[in-house]
């Protein structure tokens, strides 16, 4: 327990910052209940018409399903690639490991808009060769999302490996276990939590991704954020408020569950 506690001034300032952080999340609730067709505060009566619109308009459901499909594929790709890479780095510690990890982290550090134009170049180049892979295809989006999420997955798996006791691996090796056995039966069970977290984070990042997706899709591969973007740019549709409320509720629930799980595991 820290002995140097925040004083009254810090507490007041922190409350103001906390309000600032929560206010826009709360503001969408009344807007989502407005009976008006346009973005406005409800005056008097409330209506669920914008929630109904989400269900009745097939575009929203299609976008959700597409986002889930892309999220799963890109999460699998980036988790598998990140896991293999991290195992290689941890088990063999080759020379230039730091430089190689630095290279892998580039898509996380480079401004997203530069990654976006880079992936736009890539996918439009591929488009000439194939009609189901490239610009504005779901496979193209899944690959681009993998590029963007793989650094995050790698960081998480490397962090869980760094907390693993090397002697476990040395013992297995001394007893004659091969690389494959050590990786799958000794190391991976010990970093299970890190691998699952990496896969989940990759899925969430892909599910929310908009900066790159805007550059590499036009009419076919409309993910949920892309559809929200279109609704926000053209005329602001209160259905987005309803959707935002649902997304915020899901986020709060997931965070609550995660907090409980972490508390039960007794660590962080």
């Amino acid at each position: 327990m820290p002995t140097y506690r925040p004083g009254p001034v810090s507490l007041i300032l922190a409350v103001l910052v906390a309000l600032f952080l929560l206010l826009p999340l709360l503001a969408v609730i009344p807007v989502s209940l407005t009976p008006s067709r346009m973005l406005a505060m409800p005056t008097g009566e409330l209506s669920l018409r914008h929630y109904r619109a989400l269900i009745e308009d097939p575009r929203w459901l299609d976008a959700v399903l597409l986002s889930i499909r892309i999220g799963i594929v890109s999460s699998v790709i980036s988790t598998v690639l990140a896991l293999c890479f991290s195992l290689g780095a941890w088990m063999f510690q080759p020379r230039f490991t730091a430089a190689l990890v630095g290279f892998v982290l580039l898509p996380m550090v480079v401004p997203p808009v530069v990654s976006a134009i880079t992936l736009y170049f890539l996918l439009t180049s591929i488009s000439g060769m194939s009609s189901f892979f490239g610009y504005d295809t779901w496979l193209g989006v899944a690959m681009a999302h993998s590029v963007m999420t793989v650094p995050f997955a790698t960081v998480l798996i490397l962090v869980s490996l760094s907390q693993l006791d090397r002697r476990i691996d040395l013992a297995a090796r001394g007893l004659g276990a091969g690389v494959w056995e050590r990786a799958t039966r000794i190391i991976m069970p010990n970093i299970k939590f890190g691998i699952v977290t990496a896969a989940l984070l990759s899925f969430v990042l892909s599910w929310e991704e908009i900066g790159v997706t805007l550059f590499i899709t036009s009419v076919n591969a409309i993910t949920l954020p892309r559809l929200m973007w279109m609704g926000l740019r053209d005329n602001i549709d209160p259905a987005i408020a309803a959707l935002s409320v649902i997304l915020i509720i899901i986020t709060v629930l997931v965070l609550a569950v995660r907090t409980v799980v972490v508390k039960m595991r007794g660590g962080h």
Partner: protein, 277 residues
């Protein structure tokens, strides 16, 4: 056994797929973008010359730097206040602060930008309320301008500013603070002359992260700026999809990468990467 052939092959087989993937899907196409910048529409360094002379491009660059600076100062100050409570508050205060930091952090940039539209627009919460109490007769222009962009970006970036600050505030030596208080220094004086200097590396790290992020920020400025307060990233988007002027978009991207790279190099001269997590 280190350094034998099988070990080296093991490392290569495990590490190669990701490296190959990123070379083919990221590094190689980036070189393609660099190629665009010197070949479109005509070969040569014309696009880079245009960057130095084009008034529109320059005004966007200056606006981006100005917004990034304001957002950095405000975000780091706000993050400092809430991090104090998150790291050093009572258990209940810490849980509430953590909730207020992590919930927005996990909510998508689009939802958050939309939340600000719902608050700040002409028929949004703030204007409706101010009009209903008779404080104003005409709605205030709070969004689709630079003010809206700064508010939205600050909101997005505060959690990112929190993490480096939290890490230095957690690791500093308590005894120095107690000594200062014990020697009769007031709370305020201890804070400004002992606590703040001791978290200097966290402040630098946090400011650099926020500043670098703001330079390449796209979604929030595009929605809350409403096309009236265009920043570099949106300019690249417009050059690719609306003009189409791929050469200039590519040249701006290359300059942005070089600029961010230089800033990161500077950052790592002052702060070790480990202090940032």
């Amino acid at each position: 056994m280190r350094g034998t052939l099988s070990d080296r092959m093991g490392a290569a087989v495990l590490m190669a797929p990701l490296l190959l993937f990123l070379v083919l899907a990221y590094a190689w196409p980036f070189l393609g973008v660099v190629k665009w910048s010197v070949t479109l529409p005509t070969p040569g360094l014309g696009q880079y010359g245009a960057l130095a002379t084009d008034a529109l491009v320059q005004s966007v660059f200056i606006r981006t730097l100005r917004i990034a600076l304001i957002v950095t100062v405000v975000s780091v100050a706000a993050a400092y206040a809430i991090t104090m409570v998150w790291v050093r508050g009572s258990p209940a205060q810490r849980i509430i602060a953590e909730f207020c930091i992590l919930v927005p952090f996990w909510i998508s940039v689009l939802t958050r930008a939309f939340g600000w539209v719902a608050l700040l627009s002409n028929r949004g919460l703030i204007n409706t309320w101010l009009q209903s109490i008779g404080f104003i007769s005409e709605p205030l222009a709070l969004v689709r301008n630079e003010f809206g962009v700064i508010v939205g970006m600050t909101h997005f970036l505060i959690p990112f500013a929190v993490f480096p600050l939290a890490s230095t505030m957690r690791s500093l030596d308590e005894r120095v603070l107690l000594a200062a208080r014990g020697l009769g220094s007031s709370r305020m004086r201890t804070f400004w002359t002992v606590f703040v200097p001791m978290t200097r590396s966290g402040i630098i790290g946090s400011a650099m992260i926020v500043f670098v992020f703001s330079l390449g920020f796209f979604v929030t400025p595009a929605i809350l700026g409403g096309g009236r307060s265009v920043m570099i990233a949106e300019l690249i988007y417009l050059r690719i999809f609306q003009s189409p002027d791929w050469g200039l978009g590519a040249a701006i991207s290359v300059v942005l990468v070089l600029f961010v790279g230089a800033l990161m190099a500077l950052l790592f001269r002052y702060v070790r990467p480990k202090q940032l997590i």
